[in-house]
Amino acid sequence: MASIRNMVRAFALTGALAALAMAPLGAVAGVDLPALEKGKGEKCVEDTPFMRRNHMELLKHHRNETMHKGIRTTRYSLKGCVECHASSKTGSVAASEQDFCAACHSYASVKLDCWDCHATKPAKPKAAAQATASQPALNLMPSVQTGGQAQ
């Protein structure tokens, strides 16, 4: 019995030593900062440090303006963010852990609700073309058209 106990002790000791040896290696590597893919556009609508801290405020303000007042400027629109930052691999901002939004948010462990409703991918140009082909734009608001011509 004693020999078995000794063997177990030896194994445990070896295991503990191995674990100790591994730990410093892991600590050296650290946790990598999220590697973000560069956006398609030339530069962002604001400086990067500003955007890092304030993008949520810009989006929230814009969402209320659009939702309640119908203001549809494009500078701070979420659709604009997605169009520029969609990943070249997945075509999305949140499909994989490496995609623009998901990368930082998983690193910071902040859950995103945006994508429960909002599209994570830019509009498909193909679908838009199809819609235009099947439903040709008609002169449906004669009064508008008249106004346009008058000017």
Partner: protein, 250 residues
Amino acid sequence: MSDLNHTAGAGEERRNFLKVGAGLAGVALAPGVLLYGVSAHSRAPEEAASSRVRWGMLIDTTKCAAGCNGCVSACNNENGLSGETGEQDSQWIRKLNIRHLQTGVEHNLPMLCQHCEHPPCVDVCPTGASMKRADGIVLVDRHVCIGCRYCMMACPYKARSFVHEPLTDQNPEVPRGKGCVEACTFCVQRVDRDETPACVQACNAEGHQAMLFGDLNNPESDIAKAMKTYASTEVRGDLGLNTGVRYQGI
């Protein structure tokens, strides 16, 4: 109660006064300028929706064809709805067939959110998610909606749906998601860029011309002229909701 009635009456008087005012302002201008001055068609992206405009729809049930589902498919396509008609599926517009019990005469009509001036869904909403935009379009702010579904119970037109399952691949212009109530938005994303709702466009493309969309407050708009010429009906007009969607021929 008398106070409430009094307030409502005063509101109407004021509205009529404003309408007259707008009309007079229009007279003073050249016709082309009038259209731009009174109507919000030319609204810039940074300009907020204004109560000078009230979007409305006039549906001619005598032109609405039996068996045609053009408006419904166009709505599904534009807003990313599945097109299923089960109990838990979203339907923003439905085709109805109504028959007079005595005469047997039948009418077809699309039923959608009626975009009431006094929407019961907005009255009952506990969070303020159900709202009416200044230009009369009734919407749900999904950021605020908690999915209680009071509005669905309050709506006399059964116009609202609840999203029961997670969704993916939404139209970027029409965010939709699980846990929120939703309904016809008059295709607000299209209206904001001077287009008509998808259903109206489809109806015209089918050649039926049964749906007319426009600004009820602009006396020069086709819909205002038609409403002045023909008798139109509010569904459940007895409720005094002053619906934005009116029917002709029922």
